[in-house]
């Protein structure tokens, strides 16, 4: 057993990360690393759970049996993702139910996109295509993140995500190839979700407080702007292919950069939604809180019964 000074520990820690070794729950780690990870992972977990609500909104109205089953399975996967991520956060000493209480109290953050309403069936397609698409873009690099339990959770999540984006795109494609009403549904939905989807990558690099340190610790592996650009470059041709128009007058191929230039994001809107003033912030939190409160007597009953069972088995 070695007795090291704090600086030596930090140096060893960083060396391990530089050598692409994983940090595991019981390993020494700087407090800030732990805190940053707990924040990042629990925000991520909350996003999965709150993200169930806008899509859950259409499960009972899915237009046919196949779509209904797919949507159910998809929303259920998101519950699983939340669970994997809360578990990863718990290995750092954060308590799942306390974290959830923070969410329900309106203190914790989650992806602001889920504060937008799902008002038509087309939104089920657009969310899968754009929102899951953006999430995958964010998540794939995290499979290589330095914290072992987080990286492993992300591997599982990414494996499951692959069908989410496809089913969404399939819905949109079907609409785009359908009747004029259906095509209008698809376009109108894209118009509403495009900009919020771009905001999912977070503030521009110049305004992102945590990026530099997080990159050094490899709990973030590409910057917000890099990921956003990648997303635009991949998505624009997909929209073109199915005959939909990206709602951005400034969108234009840049031959020199071999990338799309795109218009300015309305960060005021983003900040406003993050601060709780999106169209559905109140409803989302209320739904989560209600689920937890209404389930209290159920969870208590299961505890009481488990104790009785244990006592009976012992005697």
């Amino acid at each position: 057993m070695k007795n090291l000074s704090l600086e030596e520990k930090e140096r060893e820690f960083q060396a391990k990360i530089d050598a692409d070794q994983k940090i595991e729950p019981n390993d020494w780690m700087p407090d800030e690393y732990r805190k940053t990870l707990i924040r990042q992972i629990s925000q991520h977990a909350h996003s999965e759970i709150v993200g169930m609500l806008p899509e859950g909104n259409w499960i009972t109205r899915a237009p046919n049996l196949r779509r209904k089953a797919v949507l159910l399975a998809k929303v259920q996967d998101e519950a699983g993702h939340g669970l994997y991520l809360y578990s990863a956060a718990e290995t750092l000493g954060s308590d799942r139910e306390k974290t959830i209480d923070d969410l329900n109290a309106g203190i914790a953050k989650y992806s602001s996109i889920f504060n937008y309403p799902t008002v038509t069936w087309a939104d089920m397609g657009t969310i899968g295509w754009l929102v899951d698409g953006a999430a995958i873009m964010n998540q794939v690099p995290l499979c290589r993140c330095s914290y072992g339990p987080y990286a492993r959770a992300m591997v599982r999540v990414c494996k499951e995500e692959s069908f989410h984006q496809r089913q969404g795109f399939e819905i949109v494609m079907k609409l785009a190839q359908g009747t004029p009403e259906q095509k209008a549904l698809a376009q109108e939905s894209l118009n509403r979700w495009w900009w919020p989807a771009l905001m999912m990558f977070g503030p521009n690099d110049a305004n992102s407080k945590h990026t530099a340190q997080s990159m050094k610790w490899k709990i973030k592996r590409e910057t917000n702007d890099e990921l956003r650009q990648k997303f635009v470059d991949i998505t624009v041709p997909q929209a073109e292919m199915i005959g939909l128009t990206i709602p951005d007058a400034d969108l234009k191929w840049n031959e020199e950069r071999q990338s799309y230039d795109f218009g300015a994001i309305n960060w005021d809107e983003f900040m406003n939604v993050v601060q709780g003033n999106g169209p559905c912030n109140k409803e989302r939190i209320a739904a989560r809180r209600e689920a937890k409160e209404n389930g209290l007597w159920v969870r208590e009953a299961a505890n009481a019964f488990a104790e009785k069972r244990k006592a009976r088995q012992a005697s």
Binding site: T60, A62, Q76, G82, V298, E300, A302, F305
Partner: protein
């Protein structure tokens, strides 16, 4: 009524039970009492939607009018649904949902066990697959009935009330008429009369373990099997059929 018509009617009963209950259980998705249970209930909903699809596909085929499973699921009028009243009852609280599920699962397991021996090969094959799923649903719902019954005072009281309230819809699960008579002769249908005592004793067994009372003297409602439903079904269908009604004839 000829044999095809009877078989169509019979298959619809099975399909609609799964379809309507699947719809109800799916309403829980995102609102369960704890994350793990949310996932468990969604699995059950998925199984039921899958069963509904299989049975409706067969019903459409038997019907022979060129309809699809989706047509049958989304484009019938209220009076044409053949599910039992039990499964269209509202979710209520978690205890209500588990009690409803438990009564249904005990019935369904016995029923599918019988249906696997049906001389109709398609019904037997779908029953075989569905039986496996139902066994798990029954394990889940009966464990919850026991936990809630033998949990806290509050949970005991709540689930007892759920049991009492839903008891009036249980006998209808064993409703039979000339459809059954006709199909029993050719070994297609399951003899529901023979199942009822088994259902009663299995339910009694679990309720005893849950320290719960079996309701007595309850008037039994019926009507679902012949298309006379409760007021709840209309709203459920309005929601379920919304897309097909608002955008007639389109593909999704």
């Amino acid at each position: 009524m000829n044999r095809e018509q009877a078989l169509f009617e019979y298959t619809l009963r099975i399909a609609d039970d799964s379809l309507i209950l699947g719809h109800r259980v799916s309403e829980w998705c995102g609102h369960g009492p704890i994350l793990e249970e949310d996932i468990a209930m969604t699995n059950i909903a998925l199984d039921l939607v899958g069963q509904a699809t299989n049975f409706l596909e067969y019903a459409a085929k038997v019907d022979g009018k060129g309809k699809t499973a989706d047509d049958l699921a989304f484009l019938r009028y209220d009076r044409d649904y053949r599910n039992a009243l039990l499964v269209e009852q509202k979710n209520g609280h978690f205890g209500d949902t588990m009690a409803r599920q438990f009564f249904f699962d005990v019935f369904r397991k016995l029923f599918f066990e019988g249906l696997t021996k049906s001389t109709d090969e398609t019904l037997a094959a779908i029953a075989e697959k569905s039986l496996k799923e139902t066994k798990y649903h029954l394990k889940h719902s009966s464990e919850w009935v026991i936990r809630l019954g033998d949990g806290t005072e509050e949970s005991h009281q709540k689930i007892q009330e759920s049991i009492n309230n839903l008891w009036r819809f249980t006998e209808e699960l064993f409703f039979s008429n000339d459809v059954d008579t006709m199909l029993l002769e050719s070994g297609i249908a399951v003899d529901l009369n023979a199942l009822y005592p088994l259902w009663k004793s299995q339910v009694a067994h679990v309720l005893a373990e849950a320290t719960l009372e079996i309701p007595s003297g309850t008037f039994q409602q019926k009507g679902g099997r012949t298309g006379f439903h409760s007021e709840h079904l209309g709203y459920l269908l309005a929601e379920m059929q919304y897309m097909q009604r608002a955008y007639p004839g389109m593909e999704w």
